[in-house]
Amino acid sequence: MVKKLLIIGVIFAMLIAAAAYYYVFIYSVKHHRDVNNESAISITSTDLTKAFLDNEQAANQKYLNQAIQVTGAVLDITYDQSHQKTVLIGSETEISNVFITLKDTSVSFKIGDTILVKAICNGFLSDIVLVDGVVKH
C-alpha cells in the first residue's frame, strides 16, 4: 500500500514538474500578449498627447500597459532598426505625438490619412510610445 502511494506520489510530482516546465519554457515562448484579444480605451492622438503633457504621472496610471485604440493623422512612416514598420500620428503643430511600432501591416495607409490603431502603451519619451500596433482602418 505504501509502495503504491509512493509511486502515485512520484508520478504526480513528475506531472506537476512537466506542466510547470511546459508553461515556463514552451507555452510562454509561443504565446505572447495579443492586443487583438483585449478591450481597449478609445482616444484621439491629440487627447492622449495632452494627457501625458499635462500630467505624465496621472497619464501613466491611466494608460501605461493598457490596450489603447487611438485615432490620428499620419505624420510619418518609417522602419526601425529591426525593420518593423513604425507610424507617427498626431498633429504637426504639437511638440509631442504618438509613435507606434506596428506588428500587423496588412492595412495600407499613407501620410495624411487618418487611421485608427489598436496598440499597447509603453509610456512617454519625446512622444507617447505604443507597441504591437494593429491598424484597424
Binding site: Y23, F25, V29, L64, N65, Q81, Q84, T101, G123, V131
Partner: protein, 178 residues
C-alpha cells in the same frame, strides 16, 4: 580684393564645417542580457530615444522599461513586475557628454572611438557611469555602438535570483543609428 574674397570664403567654409548639428533617433536599439545560469535572460528595446549635439558632445538616451521585449512572455512579465517595477519606474535615461567629440570629424566618414560620461538613472536611482564606444559615420550619418555593464543592485533592484540565475551585472549593448 581677390585675396580678401577668397579669405572670406575659406572662413565661411570653416565655420560651416563646424556648424552645430543635433542628431536624433526614436528607434535606437538597446540589448539587455542578465544571463546568470543556463536560461537566457535577454531582451531588446527597439524604441530608444536619443539625441546628441555635434559641437558640445551633449548626449541623452531614454528608454521605456516596458519596451524591452523578451522571447519569453513570462520572463518579460517578471522583469517588469518583480524586478524593474516598471509601473512605478517606467523609464530609464542617460544624460551626459561624449567627452572627446572634438576628435570626430563629421565631414569625413569612418569609425571614431568615443568616450562617454554621464548620469544613468534606472529604477529611480542615478549613478555616474563612463564607457567607451564607437561612432561610425557613413554618408555623414552617425551610428553609435557601445557596451557597458550595470551592477543591478546598485540601482536598488531586488530579487531572489540576482547573483544566481540572474547575473549580478547586466550587460547593455547599444546600437543607435541617427
Amino acid at each position: 580684393m581677390k585675396r580678401v574674397v577668397l579669405s572670406f570664403c575659406f572662413i565661411a567654409i570653416g565655420f560651416n564645417s563646424q556648424a552645430q548639428q543635433v542628431f536624433a533617433t526614436k528607434t535606437g536599439q538597446l540589448f539587455f542580457n542578465a544571463t546568470g545560469g543556463d536560461v537566457k535572460i535577454a531582451a531588446v528595446n527597439n524604441q530608444t530615444d536619443s539625441k546628441f549635439v555635434s559641437t558640445t558632445g551633449q548626449i541623452i538616451f531614454g528608454a521605456l522599461i516596458k519596451g524591452f521585449k523578451f522571447e519569453n512572455q513570462l520572463m518579460e512579465d517578471h522583469f517588469n513586475e518583480n524586478y524593474m517595477e516598471s509601473t512605478q519606474f517606467p523609464k530609464a535615461d542617460f544624460k551626459g557628454y561624449i567627452t572627446n567629440i572634438k576628435e570626430v570629424n563629421f565631414t569625413k566618414d569612418g569609425d571614431y572611438a568615443i568616450k562617454v560620461e554621464g548620469n544613468l538613472t534606472i529604477h529611480g536611482v542615478t549613478n555616474k557611469v563612463s564607457t567607451e564606444g564607437v561612432m561610425q559615420l557613413k554618408g555623414g550619418k552617425p551610428n553609435i555602438i557601445g557596451s557597458f555593464k550595470i551592477p543591478i543592485k546598485q540601482y536598488g533592484i531586488k530579487g531572489s535570483y540576482i547573483g544566481e540565475k540572474i547575473a549580478s551585472e547586466a550587460t547593455i549593448k547599444l546600437n543607435c543609428k541617427y
